[in-house]
Symmetry: C2
Subunit: 702 residues, 2 copies
């Protein structure tokens, strides 16, 4: 069912000219008298559980004061973003996650949802907010206790206390356990001595460190009584109110970066800086006056991961922000592709609209399907996050699931944002390279998402290890007979795959008309079986390969693991893809409107089949698809993109962006106006009788 | 044979610490007592036919005046690059291609080779030079005649006459034939009237248009006597000596771009601007006083493509510059990966050097192989270019081959540069995102290479059409019996593929030990057969699919072509990959030194196998590989990357970069120094007896 109100809001984009004899038929669902999606309902669906907060945030950032200014020199950009943070405080945007006692909303899901939308205004604003309230503030709140909250949360919330989150060191990125900074307890003065013992232990890449931070939450090895109790977090003042460095604290500027230049990233070093015992954020580990250490979590490893897990929200929010960033790029590129004409088709008609080219559909529409999937999977992630952090479902199992889910989804969505934005920029040619059209800025700013808050490959490796553990648990306590049966099944599977017996079955089933059977065997259930089967098989394969490790020396075992590292990461990626597909499918099942459900089912099919196509060789080698069926995957995708073509504008309109969020001139309808002007020029010229004839027509006459 | 002189030049990188029990064994060929490559000889090989000029150019840009300053605001950057162009003139860098009569060197190959190296200093410098001498200057030289050269070449060469190359229009990017600008001859005054009839016909994205250009070579529809003779090029003054716009000429600034912000790109519009008849660059088409048009090329289509073909050098030089850019990124990332340690392996030893991780080898080394291939294929392209433009081999067939070769290679190398630089940046984590480490600047500046000088997809489509034509020629004049035999062979082929008979043959051959047979069947000849067979089959498939087009209406035929557009582009890409592989292989065959030959053969194998792996599903579906052999491709690649690991530093040293070209702090040895300092700190601490014990060891004692 079409929502007329939404459609008429965008006259420039809905005014599409039928292309006459152009390669594909209808340009819009309206023309095709196809099923229509209910755009407004799709927007509700995509905005998800915290749609209200997202809309509030989007409304706020219609104010140009929040927008990125392309080419603004770094110093001015940094000051601008700081002022935007103050503006955000005024709008109440900084308090949603914090306790009501301090003026907060205690609404973790809404908090992240609201922050994620800031990517539309300026990703520097989003990430600097994340530094202040999501990392620095969160460290105080999640790792500290009431006394710390009373002391610092009000200043954190109202930004009178801007701070840096000092975890990463130059010498250690994602390997936090190995950091070199020490915090040694001195019982004489009841102080911790924070110290940077060598250059590699400088805290690095910290937002707010180069200029604006007055304090930092510093992660350091806690040493008391000659024992190192591992990494803990300390609140350390770094600048006075005039912005001068406090004694013993050194700051260096990281300088220009690939993007996010509105944030003052820098390095911090500490030369025996003393802070009161009070400043240990002591929720998970305490040191009493005489230096005795205690913790309710006895295992150092589990304590470390608990502390780090308390900071998972960074990853969660990157999954959401990169999805929204990719959606914006798609809105711009697809809107433009529906208006821009280039080359005539040889059919003697008007030049062809970009989105009517087979290649253009192929390059853009699967990315759109991917982004839709991410909206659904991100909402699931956000709900799980909210469940844990609200305390409603705060169990160790739920926390572990949340961390694994975040570690599986964040890499996929951040990489996808990069690929999508780049493909969209290329699909718009030279105009895609102009900063005003947004792609290049988004690409530059979102680039670092793939390596910060946990490097993507390292996160996937964590997921892979978790999957291996879960796999191994199946066999815990299993008797010899069970294991033997399992081994036999595995071996049989391998033989079947290798000799192609399963393939033969499919080949027989496929013997009818190829055209008619294209979609057969590639519907929802089969997509799920292919995607899920791949994860299972890949994990089983890695597990089998690693089985001898128990009998090897540590060095040999490490070498064996290393030889399978790339495969394990691939398996984790497959797992993440499956989760996205499942979330998309669940989302589609919840839709009532028939037209919407049908079109979104095609889009989900495109997502599923695109994943199968990406890993087609695997499915063939492992006997999951016959060569015939494998060949039909690409043909099915061709059919799906053509079928979705008339819905492309509706689908990007479904993101619910308004002109103040888009801002790109090429998606404003200007291109359509230019074409109308050109067409009118040629029409008038022809009517005037003054039009020159072509040399070719002249030659024909001769 | 190792070149000691080259090795000792880089003490920081050659000082590698053996990793004890770390996952892989040796870190350098030296330690492995493996064959060594002769680094200096490899540098000669990679610098290619015009090594001398490349070295001259690299020597010149050691001067920091040529270097990009990260974060420099756009206006200052533009002025800096203009001043660099003057510096280049002083160094004689602007005259190599032009006739000796005007002080030039008449050396086309050397000219491009010298320009390509400028990418190491600042890609804005490279591209702005390209605008002035490669496009604007080339248009005057290649499309004009002696009278034009006398008039303008001296000023072009010494930069007293900076100019823009006004081909692209806002409304028409790669589709030059459809531009809207007109040049109408007025016999009364013997002038051409240059006119922009509507906004879409503004000349757009032109370097030198926003600020510095005094003239432009403007492409316009030549109209005389009421007939449009198609696109020709005109010399049009646009600014006076004080920088003011001339009457009727309007300029707009394109503003901030994704990169190359040292270039003043802008738009130009002409309101009935009159230029003398003299200003038609009339090498391929002339208009005499009374307005009569003449050309030695009677076909309008062939004339158009001849004029455009005269400007092929832009594409050729992008192939070289993007290869050098990718090589720089690899030098930095691989040097860093050989020093940087992260996470211990679990084997209780030192932390592991990044390049020892299986995943890290897998992500970086195939890209290195790709770049090596490109150095070889680019030299072939440059030789062909030089042959044609020197007049030595200037035949229509050679020109067509040159254009097809450039159109096949430029897309692959420019895309590869983007992928490589991005992967390298990610492989260096947060430090890869700092501008000082070069990746992000290279990525931003080289981005537009993929869509300018001919959009990559459009170029590949041209290549695909050429391949289809060549394919069709086989059957020209063939009798019915020949065609029937061919058709039967095709059909048989399909049946064989589908039913897997060929696969069966391979499966039988593969029955021995899998480990031993991994490399069997994937050596040079088979790689060539797989890569070449794929091109042939893909073209044959598209040709078969398009065969009915002759019987269809133009609209239906266009729709049929469009349905196979993506496949045709893929076939062209496969063709480009084959050309790169062949050039690499020819290059390896020319090597005398045994060690060098062996290592580079592995690298070529890695390139070939990586291509096969990328398209593995195709080879399976089309019955070119059995599932067993297909599965062994990835295992073979794993073995190759491990085998190449000790040679990685030698291989990037082979690019011959000096510190002034690299400039990235992370590739300077600073990381190694930081680690040595950290290691010394912990050693001294342990020796002092003051080191804290770990909580874990404490628990064990209890």
């Amino acid at each position: 069912m079409a929502d007329a109100a939404v459609r008429t809001k965008k006259p420039a984009t809905s005014k599409r000219t039928p292309a006459g004899g152009a390669p594909t038929a209808a340009h819009s669902a309206q023309e095709a008298s196809d099923p229509r999606i209910d755009v407004a309902a799709v927007t509700d669906l995509l905005l998800g559980t915290w749609a209200h907060t997202r809309r509030e945030s989007r409304e706020m950032i219609k104010d140009p004061a929040f927008w990125r200014i392309d080419g603004q020199p770094m110093p001015e950009h940094r000051e601008r973003v700081l002022s935007q943070l103050h503006l955000l405080v005024e709008h109440g945007g900084s308090r949603r996650a914090f306790p009501k006692e301090y003026g907060g909303g205690e609404d973790n899901g809404a908090n992240l949802a609201g922050f994620e939308e800031l990517v539309l205004a300026d990703p520097s604003l989003q990430i600097k907010s994340g530094v202040q309230w999501g990392l620095f503030g969160s460290a105080v709140y999640q790792l500290g206790t009431k006394k710390h909250w009373d002391q610092w949360l009000p200043g954190i919330i109202d930004l009178s206390l801007p701070g840096a989150f000092a975890m990463t060191e130059t010498g250690h990125g994602s390997d936090v356990a190995a950091i070199g900074t020490t915090a040694t307890y001195d019982p004489e003065t009841q102080e911790f001595v924070i110290h940077t013992p060598f250059r590699g232990a400088y805290k690095d890449y910290l937002g707010n460190a180069a200029l604006h931070g007055k304090a930092a939450t510093v992660f350091a090895q806690l040493i008391t009584g000659g024992v190192n109790y591992g990494v803990h977090c300390f609140f350390v003042p770094i600048r006075d109110d005039e912005g001068g460095m406090l004694p013993g604290v050194t700051s260096q500027d990281d300088g220009v970066k690939g993007g996010l230049n509105g944030i003052d990233n820098g390095r911090l070093a500490f030369d025996h800086v003393r802070v009161p015992r009070f400043n240990l954020l002591d929720r998970y580990g305490q040191v009493d006056e005489d230096g005795t250490y205690s913790s309710e979590i006895p295992s150092p490893g589990r304590r470390f991961f608990t502390m780090l897990g308390a900071l998972v929200q960074g990853r969660v929010s990157l999954d959401g922000a990169s999805t929204t960033g990719a959606a914006l790029a798609e809105y711009i590129a697809i809107t433009y592709a529906g208006q821009r004409r280039q080359f005539d088709s040889g059919a003697g008609t008007d030049e062809v609209v970009l989105l009517d080219y087979g290649k253009h559909q192929r390059r853009l529409l699967p990315l759109l399907a991917q982004t839709y999937a991410q909206f659904f999977s991100h909402d699931e992630l956000l709900k799980k996050f909210d469940g844990v952090f609200s305390g409603r479902n705060d169990t160790p199992e739920e926390r572990e699931d949340l961390e694994t889910l975040a570690a599986a989804l964040k890499p996929l969505s951040t990489w996808n944002a990069m690929d999508t934005i780049q493909e969209c920029r290329e699909a718009c040619g030279g105009s895609g390279f102009l900063a005003e059209n947004r792609f290049v800025g988004l690409h530059q700013d979102l680039d670092v998402f793939v390596t910060f808050e946990g490097d993507n490959n390292i996160l996937l490796q964590l997921v892979g290890k978790r999957l291996l553990n879960d796999y191994a648990k199946q066999f815990k306590g299993a008797d010899a007979a069970t294991l033997a049966r399992f081994a036999a099944r595995q071996a049989a599977g391998k033989v079947f795959h290798g000799a192609g017996l399963r393939q033969l079955g499919q080949a027989v089933a496929d013997l009818g008309s190829t055209a008619r059977s294209v979609e057969f065997g590639l519907r929802e259930d089969q997509q799920h079986a292919l995607l899920a089967g791949r994860v299972e098989q890949m994990i089983a394969d890695v597990a089998a390969a690693l089985r001898p490790a128990g009998k090897l020396s540590p060095a040999e075992a490490a070498a064996l693991f290393n030889a399978h590292q790339a495969e394990l990461i691939e398996a984790a990626r497959a797992h993440g893809e499956l989760l996205q597909w499942e979330a998309f499918t669940d989302g589609v099942h919840r839709i009532d409107d028939e037209g919407t459900k049908l079109v979104l089912t095609w889009l989900r099919d495109l997502f599923g089949l695109h994943l199968v196509e990406k890993h087609l060789a695997w499915h063939l080698i492992n006997g999951r698809l016959s060569t015939q069926r494998a060949a039909s995957v690409s043909r099915y995708i061709d059919r799906l993109v053509a079928r979705l073509r008339p819905h492309a504008q509706d689908l990007v309109d479904g993101f619910g962006f308004e002109p103040e969020h888009v801002r790109a001139p090429i998606a404003s309808g200007a291109e359509q106006q230019r074409q109308d002007e050109a067409r009118e020029h040629y029409r008038a010229l022809a009517a005037s009788g003054d039009a020159p004839v072509s040399e070719k027509s002249l030659k024909k006459k001769k």
